[in-house]
């Protein structure tokens, strides 16, 4: 009996020992599963402020499209948060001959379907981009004048008609698509996902227009391992609804936080904000061309010669505006006063120009010297809802001008109406208005992208002055800009652009007001590296 008993106790001990080992093993593996489950399924939900119009990277040159597709597709040259150039799918690039640039492509990059990335894809992308059917705003300007040829599987050359120092900036705007998948693909195929094969950190998962866009992690990505397993983007165009979604926890991060909600979110410990200056300048433009301009009259309404042609009047106007007050009160601190086209630190800006100081007395003296001691009457036209607080800014400007004797009436128009009339509402499809509030952001992230379209003489054939609605014309500015566009040496080109900017600003070609500041808001623990190109990239979201 005793040995049986003992045997059974030993038996129980053995069994219980094994059992405990099994239990321990089970506990550990459960913990591991739970740990890996928690670590591996990290989903990021982002609330967007505008809806992307398609998943085809060449279809529409629009910021929401360019921003969201950067997760799936990549460019030869990438840009950092200040739009400085970085190696992307191209490891290096240089000028080999006056008009020939050579790009060395990155090896070891694969498309989401596993096939290798080669120069054929680059050549194909540059051929496809300007020819996408039904494109409302294509990338034709990015590839214009460039002939792309393959040298070998990992080298391409781009030949231009004339010296083209800003070629890398143009190349940095175009995303590369796969020749194998994109050969006969239309925009619909990208929207359905069939052709949406890229090289980026995330793969296309689902696109429901107007509802959501979903991406999944690309585990074979060549770059730093992407942090999130799944991305979900929801367009929520109404500002308050976007903030509410963040507060309710339905999204982890939102872009374009309305200025009215910034204070409240700053004080809330559950959320953190990331702010960055944008490359978008809000400015005023006056009519430099016409002898009599329709929206500027004498105080009593009588016709006068165009007052804006007198530099003293323009200078008086820019001095009459209290930029600090606009930034502090109208923009609620979420803007930076501007003295030129791009903020400090951008390529080609002038280090000498500062925002014009508020000087109402000086303004009145200048007006008197110009013969307008009795004042003027103007109408300021502004779009309503195109730029942050655009109508409120215009109201403030109108009041400030009225205080120095320039009685200014305000007319706010729907953007669709405003831009049509501002560009071609006048006789012979010329600009209609005399005094407008508009915004401008340099797509290339450097100053020639502002100087040439804004203050170069409007010339249809040359393609300059495309946004020069005031028809400002200064031969010296034109000459300096043209020379800059021919200069490959970075330092020389920057100096030329800075000089052109100084001449234009000192001549008060435009009246710069401020640069917009973009605000992203996220739940506590997520910080975003704010970008001046206004892109919202999950790859730039980090947890400390």
């Amino acid at each position: 009996m005793a040995p049986n008993f003992r045997a059974s106790i030993e038996g129980i001990a053995l069994i219980s020992g094994e059992l405990s080992m099994v239990l321990r093993a089970l506990a550990i593996s459960l913990a591991m599963v739970a740990f890996t489950a928690a670590a591996s399924s990290q989903e990021l939900k982002v609330g967007l402020s505008a809806e992307p119009s398609a998943m085809d990277p060449h279809y529409h040159n629009l910021t929401p499209n360019n921003s969201i597709l950067s997760h799936v597709f990549e460019r030869l040259i990438a840009t950092d948060e200040k739009q400085r150039l970085l190696p992307g799918l191209a490891e290096s690039w240089k000028v080999v001959d006056e008009t020939v640039w050579e790009f060395k492509l990155r090896r070891g990059v694969t498309w989401h379907d596993g096939s290798p990335f080669t120069a054929d894809d680059v050549v194909f992308s540059f051929q496809r981009a300007p020819n996408v059917p039904n494109s409302p705003s294509s990338f034709a300007s990015a590839v214009k004048g460039k002939t792309v040829s393959k040298v070998d599987d990992y080298t391409v050359r781009m030949t231009t008609g004339a010296v083209s120092p800003t070629l890398p900036n143009d190349v940095a705007t175009l995303m590369i698509v796969s020749k194998k998948n994109g050969e006969n693909a239309k925009t619909e195929d990208y929207n359905s996902g069939k052709a949406a094969i890229g090289t980026g950190a995330y793969k296309f998962a689902k696109f429901t227009p107007g509802d959501r866009i979903e991406f999944a992690r690309n585990d074979a990505y060549w770059g730093p391992k992407p942090k999130w397993t799944k991305l979900q983007f929801k367009p929520i165009t109404a500002g308050p609804a976007r903030v509410a979604a963040l507060l309710a926890g339905d999204v982890d991060m939102i872009e374009d936080t309305p200025t009215a909600d910034i204070e409240r979110l700053k004080k809330d410990p559950k959320f953190q904000l990331s702010q960055g200056i944008s490359n978008r300048l809000v400015y005023l433009f006056v009519d430099h061309a016409r002898d009599v301009t329709p929206f500027a009259t004498a105080k009593d309404g009588g016709e006068i010669k165009n007052p804006f042609k007198d530099r003293r009047v323009r200078e008086a106007m820019t001095k009459a505006i209290n930029r600090d007050a606009i930034v502090a009160r109208v923009m609620e601190g979420v803007a930076v006063p501007a003295g030129q086209f791009l903020p400090d630190g951008y390529f080609g800006v002038s280090s000498k120009l500062k925002p014009v100081a508020y000087d109402p007395d000086g303004a009145k003296k200048l007006l008197a010297a110009a013969g307008f001691a009795n004042g003027l009457r103007l109408t300021l036209h502004t779009p309503n809802g195109r730029y942050i607080n655009d109508v409120k800014i215009a109201e403030a400007v109108a009041q400030m001008l009225t205080r120095v004797g320039i009685e200014t009436a305000l007319e706010a128009l729907q953007p669709s109406v405003f831009f049509t009339r501002a560009s071609q509402g006048g006789p012979n499809n010329s600009p209609e208005f005399s005094f407008i509030l508009v915004g401008w952001s340099s797509g290339t992230g450097e100053n020639s992208g502002s100087v040439v379209p804004l203050v170069n003489t409007f010339d249809r054939a040359k393609g300059t002055g495309t946004t020069n609605r005031g028809r400002y014309s200064n031969a010296e500015v034109d000459q300096l800009s043209a020379e800059a566009l021919r200069t490959n040496d970075d330092a020389k080109r920057a100096a030329l652009l800075a000089k052109a900017t100084e001449i234009a600003i000192e001549d008060v070609a435009v009246i710069p007001l401020h640069y917009q500041v973009n605000t992203w808001a996220a739940r506590k623990g997520l910080s975003y590296k704010a970008r001046s190109d206004e892109f919202t990239l999950a790859t730039d979201v980090s947890e400390p």
């Binding site: 609330g47 809806e51 119009s53 398609a54 279809y59 529409h60 040159n61 629009l62 059917p133 039904n134 494109s135 409302p136 705003s137 294509s138 034709a140 300007s141 214009k144 925009t187 619909e188 929207n191 429901t208 227009p209 107007g210 509802d211 959501r212 929801k234 367009p235 929520i236 165009t237 109404a238 308050p240 609804a241 509410a244 979604a245 507060l247 309710a248 926890g249 339905d250 999204v251 729907q414 953007p415 669709s416 109406v417 831009f419 049509t420 009339r421 501002a422 560009s423 071609q424 401008w440 797509g443 290339t444 992208g449 379209p453 249809r460 040359k462 393609g463 300059t464 495309t466 946004t467």
Partner: protein
């Protein structure tokens, strides 16, 4: 009946033609969509090429004729923004809007009619007075504000319901809708309530007025004298008679729900036709605006026809016009 239907069909076509002319020329007068579409970096030659590609360089009457010839083949043009056929873009978003409209309609009927009946049958009860006061609030408050308040209270403060978007969909009997999933219903509740508030108030007041009026009628007195139970009188006799105005109004309102629930769809980021329309108006996406309005006109016509047929079901004295001989 066929003669009647044919006549209605002719009227419909006339309305559609008239409406398309008005919208086409009206949108053209507002502004040129080119400036909203083209990248401002493009030089003038590229802008001209874009204008030609969209067909916007031709005179407006030529553009209209081009549109008509396409419409007769079923092609209502391509969206300037999305590049896809305008009709396709609208039909893609229609299920979402229909869901919302149906949910709001169901709420209006299920909540509005009983409350209205109660208020009509017991007008002096304090609850009736509360219901009437509530209905005034219901149609005075702006939809925009109510929507945001609903989000603030139920999503942000209480966290019971999601604040934005449409939920996952499931297919049942060949119909794909988010009403068939629990998550979908949770997403549907707030926007449907936001839309329904106005309709509920309307239905309450209509039902109450109808009930109060009908209760005075002779046939009710006779039915009571005959000894019928109160509930039978209300259910069988009263309801059918007061429902005619309610059905008319709800029919029109259903059309409105589908066509113009713009504010609710924008606040709740609901991917429906209303949001598409407001976006198209802001960007002057003319093909989508015209296609949307044509679809809406067809919708209203069908709804009106259904309402007219419902009359004959509710009230056998009404004959479809042209049938009486």
């Amino acid at each position: 009946m066929t003669a009647y239907l044919l006549r209605r069909l002719m009227q419909t076509i006339l309305v559609i033609v008239l409406m398309s002319v008005i919208v086409f020329f009206g949108v053209h007068v507002i502004g040129d969509p080119v400036w909203l579409l083209v990248n401002p970096q493009m030089d003038q030659r590229d802008i001209d090429a874009a204008v030609r590609a969209l067909g916007l360089d031709r005179p407006i009457w030529e553009q209209y004729l081009h549109f008509v010839s396409g419409a007769l083949r079923g092609d209502l043009g391509r969206s300037f923004i999305f590049g896809e056929p305008a009709l396709g873009v609208i039909l893609q978003r229609m299920p979402a809007t229909l869901e919302l409209a149906v949910a709001a309609l169901v709420m209006a009927v299920v909540v509005g009619i009983p409350l209205g009946l109660y208020a009509g049958l017991k007008p002096d009860h304090p609850l009736s007075k509360a219901i009437m006061a509530g209905s005034i609030v219901g149609f005075s408050l702006p939809t925009f504000w109510v929507g945001l308040m609903l989000i603030m209270v139920f999503a942000v403060m209480l966290g019971w319901l999601p604040s934005t978007g449409r939920g996952p969909t499931a297919t049942f009997l060949g119909v794909t809708s988010s009403m068939f999933t629990i998550e979908g219903l949770r997403h549907l509740l707030l926007p449907a309530l936001n839309l329904a508030l106005l309709k509920i108030s309307l239905v309450i007041r209509l039902t109450r007025a109808g009930a109060r009026e009908s209760m005075q009628q002779d046939y009710i007195k006779f039915a009571r004298a005959k000894g019928l139970t109160h509930s039978r009188i209300v259910r069988v006799h009263l309801l059918k008679n007061i429902l005619i105005p309610v059905v008319t109004v709800l029919g029109l309102e259903f059309g409105n729900l589908i066509a113009f629930s713009v504010v609710t769809e924008t606040i709740f980021a609901w991917p429906g036709m209303g949001k598409l329309l407001i976006g198209a108006i802001q960007t002057l996406d003319r093909p989508v605006i015209v296609a949307h309005l044509i679809v809406i006109v067809l919708l209203f016509v069908v709804i009106n026809l259904v309402v007219d047929i419902l009359y004959t079901v509710l009230d056998p004295r009404v004959r479809v016009v042209g049938q009486a001989r």
